[in-house]
Point group: C2
Chain length 116, copies 2
DNA sequence: GAAAATGGCAACCATATGATTGCGTATTGC
DNA sequence: GCAATACGCAATCATATGGTTGCCATTTTC
């Protein structure tokens, strides 16, 4: 018999996806996903927007748990956090799995003439 | 030697994530991912918002390619489209892979005192 | 053919979002 | 110590977003 594993509360991934839903933030996250922590200055060096704009994006990522930050001297270093990405992935996996499941793909638009 | 496969244009997944970044839309997509096409009325039946609000969300999903719609008589049927989900997943996979790669996780915040 | 069901369109509203600018403060380099 | 660097805070702005309401048109149903 299985041990009484407590369900790890699904926690809706919408905020994570929302944080990912921006080109600039995706780019920042991609850079940081190499595991190297970087300062705001470094991250805004080649951006076509102000440092403040980049800072805001980083704070959005931080709110979603996608990055963490620590102050080191006069700079703020941001680092990639893998957990939310895992969570988002597993959500997409579940959606894909449900789609792949059974006869799913055969039912599309083939419900007959009646209301559904 | 490999055939000259044309790169399937990366097409930034930000708009897909943005479309996924809403509770209501995630819920709609989850329902539709069983492969059954449904009308707007059906989809808004148990929603705590107006039919119009649900319609707007469905159009957002449609703009991101996550669902398609066809008019059947007096109703509009929406069906799940798997491609964007695959694309989003593969993006997250690449991010995760880069993270898993090499010594990535060891570099976090361990860059020494100098500016980075 | 009249009523019900389905949904499109448009106006409208409050709030969120993405970005800028200006300025103040703390830290570092020389 | 002073200038440069790095950053935070706040105001401001335009536009996007999420939601509502009202009304009209098309289909079905009986």
């Amino acid at each position: 018999m299985s041990s009484p594993e407590r369900q790890v509360r699904p926690a809706d991934p919408a905020p994570i996806f929302a944080a990912l839903g921006d080109r600039t933030r995706l780019s920042l996250l991609t850079r940081l996903s190499d595991g190297r922590a970087r300062s705001i200055s470094t991250l805004s060096a080649d951006a076509r927007m102000t440092r403040q704009a980049v800072t805001k994006h980083l704070r959005v990522l931080e709110s979603a748990g996608l990055v963490s930050s620590i102050r080191v001297g006069r700079e703020s270093r941001f680092a990639y956090r893998p957990e939310p990405v895992i969570e988002a992935r597993s959500y997409l996996d579940r959606v894909s799995a449900q789609w792949d499941d059974a006869l799913g793909r055969l039912r599309t638009f083939v419900e007959g003439p009646g209301p559904i």
